[in-house]
Amino acid sequence: MSIDMSQFHQVFFEECFEGLEAMESGLLSLDIGDIDSEVINTIFRAAHSIKGGSGTFGFTVVAEYTHIMETLLDEMRDGRRQVTKPAVDVLLGSVDCLREMLTSIQNEEDVNMESAAQHQAALEMELNGTAGGGEHTAAPVHAAPIVVVVEAEPEEEVVVDEEQGWKIAFCPYLSLLKTGNDPVRLFRELSGLGELTTNVNIQDVPPFAELDPEECNISWELKLVSDATEAAVREIFSWVEEDCALELAPLAKPKKIKKPKPAAAPAPVVETAAPVVATESAPVVAAKKAAPTESDPSKNAPKASSSIRVDTDKIDTLINMVGEVVITQSMLGLIGENFTMDKVGQLKRGLAQLERHTRDLQQSVMNIRMLPISFVFSRFPRLVHDISTQLHKKITLKLVGENTEVDKAVVELINDPLVHLIRNSLDHGIEMPAERVAAGKPEMGTIELKAYHRGGHIVIEIVDDGRGMDKAKLLAKAIEKGLVEESTIMSDKQILELIFMPGFSTAEKLTDISGRGVGMDVVRRNIQSLGGNIDIISELGKGSTIAIHLPLTLAILDGQSVAVGDETYIVPLVSIIESINITEKMLNKVAGKGETFKLRNEYLPIIRMREIFNVKSGNATKSNEGVIVVVEGQGALCGFLVDELLGQQQVVIKSLEANYRRVEGVSGATILGDGSVALILDVPGLVRLSVR
């Protein structure tokens, strides 16, 4: 039977990446010296599964590689090998290497054999270099590719005259049946090899009264006429080897003497092979080892987006909801069939029910897209481990609230900004151990990564107990760069926010950890494009806290609908500060700077929606009749002049780019209750637009 194995590949890859993550976090949590055997077991199991699967699905490169890891881990598991930091590092490197291999295979690219060979050599060095179990463990490397149980090995040369075959004395022990084996099936197998004659010996069967039907009291004399080898015959009995006495004798003497049967894979050959590999590529390893650590996880990140794993509970809830909706629908259908006015009350109740169910259903569906933030957080222990080693700093990372759920899209997009912020904390925030001790702080720095829900938002905080930001230095730098004027009086908060300005960087020298050409301005822009914002609190000498607020979902937004002529627009509720009915006195025309509007003591620029979107329809309102919606975008306040406020509602965001094309000042569209389309305003975009 031919079965298309490629249909299992996707599941296999997902499983592998999950396994690798488990291995990675397990390895990172291994406390050298105090080994938790359950952790080692988990790591071992992951390697073991990857090996088994990759062998089965034909990815022999991966299978061979994981085999070595497995051997190493097996020795650790059994306590035959010490868990050392170098060993853990090598294993971590192997995780990266495997991830790279699997990604290449998944994308149907060639596996980078060079880097694989380096990692493999490092692994083998680790395996063979340390005392204890060096030689014999290397042997199974070549045993990994297909070990066939059922097939015979026709390598013996047996030439016979007369009748060819075997005389088999098969005497099962009483217990043979207890393992589910059945002599009848064995005989059926045997008869597949040739012509079988059985001769039953029942002399040991006790009298009926004493007979235990679960015991095997019979033995057999078998004659098999076949050209099968002894190994092939014994193979059939391999499962019951311990449960019977088995004697094999050839029916006729062969003329040529049989070659002695090699037991299994010939060990000596392999023993010489492994060290050769190790010595050849060992010097290269030291030089290039560090290279492929960082780039790979991000490479396979977008791949993960193609499918989503959902808790079955969520699906069950969803199915329940759908059931409710169907019931309500049929109830309404019944009312509608013979409608009379006295059924209005019933109808109203039904509609109210429908509304409730629809809302619940919507929530359940949204819930499916919710993933725990641990999907993002889980890679940071590794990042912190690697970078702190590189920087010779001592840092622990605490994760809080990993199970906080957030929309899948947010999970995918928040990763890069977070990486940047954590790198910053590692590089600039936490001081060198000596410096910390001198400042009276514990040698070990702490970075805390927290996530929690607040209102309709998720808040992610990065808290470090490092040196904090020097406001005087920040200000001086900004003045030097010409970003602010010397005379400007700024609040502490405003000074801290200077780091978000394009072209601002306080690091004296750019290191390869943080200074990657992406500034904090990009981080802020990315977060704002997700509909979020970012705040900093920092105290010199004590540490910094960076808080990111993000909407829970990107698919639905709380919006304020506003009327401009006959058109309806949606302003995201998060960016609205307040809305004011305007009077003539509040509007000022400033030459060259457009219109402004005096809100209490501040002058705000005005954007006329009617003009910016060129709306001609409806009654042209005079500028003094209407509503100013005060919004915040790009850190600045601004007033949108609209005709009327309509109402607040949750709107489902439809992508304009996917359905039409990108339009400046508009972030998307939605469909209103009456079927018409309303555009959702991109507040920061409009503010930018108005400045021009």
Binding site: M1, G52, F57, T179, G180, S238
Partner: protein, 120 residues
Amino acid sequence: MASILAVDDSASMRKMVAFTLKTAGYDVEEAEDGVDALEKAKARTFDCIVTDVNMPNKDGIALIRDLRQLPQYKHVPMLMLTTESGMEKKMEGKEAGATGWMVKPFNPDQLLKTLLKVLG
């Protein structure tokens, strides 16, 4: 057709085994570890158990040992799928009551051929 319980914590392997067996016409149920399997095996009696060895919660050997205690599974064939081709695991499995074993990696044909040794 014979009913088979396929137990493996690795989804891809389990799916492969289950799909192969289903295609061959067997009635297959899947379980993701020993605990899950034991529960399913109690709910109905299978004609054969095919289980991975290394699994979280309850491994294949413990599963076989537990199943053999149940009267309805006294003589049901139980196969272990293992990558540990060492005799040690096999013997441990035999002592627990395993009928036989298959060494991974194997292909669908080998799986079916092996099953014929204990079914039908």
